[in-house]
């Protein structure tokens, strides 16, 4: 019983960064921007969050700095991909490299360390204990006592579902992705919407970075995003960008991530347990493609 509670708890914790980045990616997905740069935006956000929190001694500044870091990376992406018309894949890959190189460089330049930077001066984001629910046995440890960003993320999933499918802005954004010229023809700049989508995704990926470096752990390590931005991209493909679908899928991935962690106490070598989320991604893509094949075969059968 204790193990089950522990695993559910770690699923929620591990799902959050993937979900946050995925929610950001929802905007670029519907704006039809191939956003492979989420990994880099997350990494930059994680770094600027630690830098802000350490230098100002405040988690509020750290959180804002993390978001600003993500937005600045997104701004570079938007300028190159939208306004200079550089290929999105190329720009995104270059941003990822810039993030990896830039944070490694800045780590040495600012804090004189290689590998990882930790310090008691880094203020972590606060954890929230929910009254009543927190006291319940079983549910309490799973639902309560997490860094506050976990709850913000859950709320964001609902808000973004509404924003994307129930508001005029969401409609325009999706239209800009489907047919940019149609949007341009009614006097709304599709380039502008695409740039905004990239910036929103940057802010949310930055927040995912904040969660990694000030919530999940309290330190910055080289390449600490460790593929979560790419897993988020896979999750977006799997759920076709639906925020509530992302919520479910991220929890599944969080579960596998957490499964890896809990298996570490067994005799399986830790390197294999660390592989679990990546293998799970490949398996999920396999199941998705099989399902898609079955559906399209079914439709062809009906038509014939």
């Amino acid at each position: 019983m204790h193990l089950v509670i522990e695993m559910l708890r770690s699923s929620v914790l591990a799902a959050t960064p993937v979900l946050l980045a995925g929610l950001g990616g929802t905007y670029t997905y519907y704006a039809n921007v191939f956003n492979i740069a989420m990994e880099g935006m997350m990494l930059i956000g994680a770094f600027t969050a630690v830098a802000g929190s350490y230098l100002a001694g405040s988690w509020v500044v750290g959180t804002l700095a993390g978001m600003v870091g993500g937005v600045v990376a997104a701004l570079v992406f938007a300028v190159f991909a939208v306004y200079l018309k550089t290929d999105e894949f190329v720009t995104g890959t270059a941003i990822n490299m810039l993030a990896l190189g830039g944070t490694t460089y800045a780590l040495r330049q600012m804090f004189r360390v290689k590998g990882a930077f930790m310090s008691p001066m880094i203020r972590a984001i606060p954890r929230i204990r929910i009254p009543l629910i927190g006291a319940l046995p079983g549910i309490g440890p799973v639902a309560s006592g997490h860094p506050f960003l976990v709850y913000v993320t859950l709320a964001l999933a609902i808000v973004i579902e509404w924003h994307m499918f129930r508001t005029r802005y969401g409609l325009r954004l999706r239209a800009a992705g489907e047919d940019p010229r149609a949007v341009d023809s009614v006097g709304v700049s599709s380039d502008r919407i695409r740039a905004q989508a990239i910036l929103i995704s940057g802010a949310l990926c930055g927040l995912a970075g904040v969660y990694l470096s000030l919530g999940y752990v309290t330190l910055f390590a080289e390449n600490m995003s460790n593929g979560r931005g790419w897993i988020a991209l896979a999750v977006i493909i799997l759920t076709r960008g639906r925020p509530l679908g992302l919520l479910t899928m991220s929890l599944v991935f969080g579960f596998f991530d957490g499964l890896g962690l809990s298996l570490q106490s067994t005799r399986i070598p830790p390197q294999f347990t660390q592989m679990v989320p990546y293998i799970a991604t490949i398996v999920a893509l396999y199941l998705y493609s099989r399902e898609k094949k079955r559906v399209s075969a079914g439709q062809a059968g009906q038509a014939g």
Binding site: V90, L100, G227, R290
Partner: protein, 364 residues
């Protein structure tokens, strides 16, 4: 000079200036840093030899990415293919002890095959189940990373050492050094020539390039895209695997060490991107990036700029060169449109003296 070379040069100059500005803003002596960067990478025999040794893996990972991207196979699995290639050669070199003339060709084959195998997994998943290769190759990188880490800290760990690494390979598989230059560079050059011939001078390479430009056109033209996809993926993987294998066969350590190869694979991806998937530009940029990385060490010695600055500089170069290429193309198209509009307006003078045409063109 061709148009491409000029725009590339413009991009490089702007990027180097941006790098200079970053150094200056952080209070480093900017110009002396650059002087150190280039004197330690180009202006002595030792510097050049170091640069060429550094270029050895970069040429191969660059070619790997260029063959992939140029054929429209989004192989982002170079890091994994590199590690698997290196691990296979390490295992082979530890297990077999044969004379050098037999051992070296075999080790090269092992590296090629191992890299191709790892890329082949992604190719197979794409062909059988239509799974996007860019995600599967990325995920396979992490799997390769943890798998090799498991091997070097578990079953293949050399217990006489304190950090995870394999035993040394048998000397038969070592590539000789030649006055400081590892002959791995020669192997790399041979691979470059072979790849260039396949890519630029063979029917197969032509079909891949067509597939990269326009896969529908290739299909209509009678190319078997599915088979070509697999073949390009396999070659791409083989080249990355060879890069990894040469790290074991050449150099000094002759064993698989934790964290080996650092960024060579991702550097290759950037090199291919900045070279627009051309084979000769890939070779040239590989040398250029090798010079930056080699020089960065000297820069750290002379002006205390962390050598990681090379990573920043490389990414900036990629962004600026690609952007200058794309925006010049865009500008030229715009000028051409303007000229056409003017010509059309001039041809129909009675209709409003060309004002309409002019306004429309400049309104863009």
């Amino acid at each position: 000079m061709s148009k491409n070379a000029i725009t590339a040069l413009a991009g490089i100059v702007v990027a180097l200036l941006a790098g200079l500005a970053i150094l200056w803003a952080q209070g480093y002596p900017a110009l002396p840093s650059y002087a150190a960067l280039f004197s330690y990478s180009l202006f002595s025999k030792f510097a050049i030899v170091s640069t060429l040794n550094k270029a050895t893996p970069l040429i191969l990972t660059g070619l790997s990415a260029a063959v992939g991207f140029g054929s429209n196979c989004v192989n982002l699995g170079q890091p994994g293919q590199f590690l698997i290639g290196a691990m296979a050669v390490a295992a082979f070199g530890i297990a077999c002890d044969l004379p050098t003339p037999v051992m070296i060709p075999l080790a090269i084959m092992v590296a090629l095959a191992a890299g191709a195998l790892w890329a082949g997994i992604a190719a197979g998943l794409r062909r059988r189940f239509n799974m996007d290769e860019f995600i599967t190759t990325l995920m396979l990188n992490f799997i390769a990373d943890y798998f090799t880490l498991y091997l070097i800290s578990g079953p293949m760990w050399d217990r006489t050492t304190y950090s995870p690494m394999t035993k040394m390979t048998n000397p038969g598989s070592w590539l000789p050094m030649w006055d400081g230059l590892s002959t791995a560079f020669v192997v790399s050059c041979v691979a470059f020539v072979i790849t260039w011939v396949i890519w630029d001078r063979s029917k197969l390479g032509y079909e891949w390039r067509v597939m990269g430009q326009n896969s529908a056109f290739a299909r209509v033209g009678g190319c078997r895209n599915e088979a070509n996809f697999t073949r390009a993926m396999l070659l791409s993987g083989a080249l990355a695997g060879l890069a990894g294998g040469l790290m074991i066969m050449g150099g000094m350590q002759h064993r698989f060490v934790k964290g080996m190869g650092a960024n060579y694979a991702w550097d290759g991806v950037m090199i291919a991107i900045v070279a627009a998937n051309g084979m000769v530009p890939t070779g040239l940029y590989a040398l250029f990036f090798a010079a930056i990385q080699t020089g960065a060490m000297g820069m750290e010695l002379e002006t205390a700029v962390p050598s990681e600055f090379a990573l920043v500089l490389q990414a900036i170069i990629v962004l600026f060169v690609v952007a200058s290429r794309e925006s010049t193309r865009l500008l030229i198209n715009r000028w051409a449109a303007k000229l056409r509009a003017r010509a059309a307006a001039g041809g129909a003078q009675d209709i409003g003296k060309g004002e309409g045409g002019e306004r429309r063109a400049s309104g863009h």
